[in-house]
């Protein structure tokens, strides 16, 4: 019994609880699922939307394609697709 308590204590001291706690995994997964649910897009369609947007934007500006973020926010009675296309730093 006592050993168990000590091991638990050590685990608590040495692990970063925030990163591994399963509730955070649940929350992140949910947020991703809800993007697709809210705008009724499948993961595949979502990916093509992203690629087509990237293609259009790339015609005019230099986009950092590795850091694109898209999400759907809901505030009261309004929903918005928020897409974030960071620009490449000019050398």
């Amino acid at each position: 019994m006592k050993e168990g308590v000590i091991i638990d204590l050590l685990k608590k001291l040495f692990k970063n609880d925030k990163d591994v706690s399963s509730k955070n995994i649940a929350k992140e997964r949910l947020q991703f699922i809800l993007i697709q649910d809210r705008i009724k897009l499948s993961p595949g369609e979502m990916e093509s939307l992203k690629e087509e947007l990237l293609a259009v934007l790339s015609k005019y500006i230099d986009v950092d394609s590795s850091n694109i973020k898209m999400e759907v926010d809901r505030h009261d009675d309004m929903m918005a697709l928020v897409a974030n296309f960071p620009l490449k730093r000019s050398v």
Partner: protein, 265 residues
């Protein structure tokens, strides 16, 4: 009298819609309101069982809409509260036996006699759900702190908003504070942030619910024995217009905090 009709819905099954309906109805009746519960889950009726009224059913909701009996004949008076009534679902028919229009008519007739009409919606988003929400003035969504239940709740909120429900409210059911504290269950703030909806109340997981359902006695009848009973009573008072703070799920004393940090709880 012009009462208020409230639909209790969730999308996902098994999150506690029927238990919530039975308890809120009983609690509102204990506040001296006239209340009618409608079981809109045609084909899978259960509200009568949770209320312990299954032996008193003579007519059901389908008998009423088909004209086999008058509405008053189908209403079952509760054993304990004489201002509480149940309109049971039919067990041998399916959801198409009632139309949204018929439901609307029924609810508005009942509103003339009652302070509150609570409609227990079936799981799902098909006809049964559409029936249950027609005629309701307000919607309460029941969910639990699980990914699947929250996802379905979000879908239902979207559908309710499309149907013109102004401010749906959510009840978070079956929360386990011990798991929340370990970081293994989403907390209230997480869920409200994700769903972006008004919180009506929180009900802790409570094994007394199983016992009370076994007996067919809503848990609010003995609130001193259970946290869930107290939580449902508080929610009923909030529905009735009282401003009540959220019940704390657990007293977070200094000792407990220290224990948690040191790893003893």
């Amino acid at each position: 009298m012009a009462g208020k009709a409230i639909v209790i819905t969730s999308g996902k099954g098994g999150v506690g819609k029927t238990t919530t309906t039975a308890n809120l109805g009983t609690a509102l009746a204990m506040l001296d309101r006239r209340v009618c519960l409608i079981d809109a889950d045609i084909g899978l009726r259960n509200l009568d069982v949770v209320m312990g009224l299954e032996n008193r059913i003579v007519y059901d909701i389908v008998d009423v809409v088909e004209g086999n009996c008058r509405l008053e004949q189908a209403l079952i008076r509760d054993k304990r509260q004489n201002n509480l009534f149940l309109l049971p679902a039919a067990q041998t028919r399916d959801k198409t036996a009632v139309t949204p229009y018929q439901m609307q008519e029924l609810v508005s007739k009942l509103k003339e006699e009652m302070d509150y009409v609570l409609v227990d919606s079936p799981a799902g988003i098909e006809q049964g759900f559409k029936n249950a929400i027609s005629g309701a003035d307000q919607a309460i969504i029941v969910t639990t702190p699980e990914v699947s239940a929250v996802r379905d709740a979000d879908r239902i909120i979207g559908l309710l908003e499309t149907e013109g429900f102004k401010e749906p409210e959510v009840i978070i059911n079956r929360i386990r504070q011990d798991m929340v504290q370990k970081g293994d269950m989403m907390d209230i703030d997480d869920m409200i942030e994700i769903l972006a909806i008004k919180l009506l109340g929180v009900v802790p997981e409570d094994e007394n619910i199983v016992i009370s359902t076994n007996r067919g006695e809503p848990i609010v009848l003995k609130p001193e024995k259970s946290r869930a009973g107290q939580a449902f009573n508080n929610i009923a008072r909030r529905i009735d217009g009282e401003e009540l703070p959220l019940m704390s799920l657990e007293k977070d004393t200094l000792l407990k905090k220290i224990k948690r940090i040191v790893g003893l709880s």
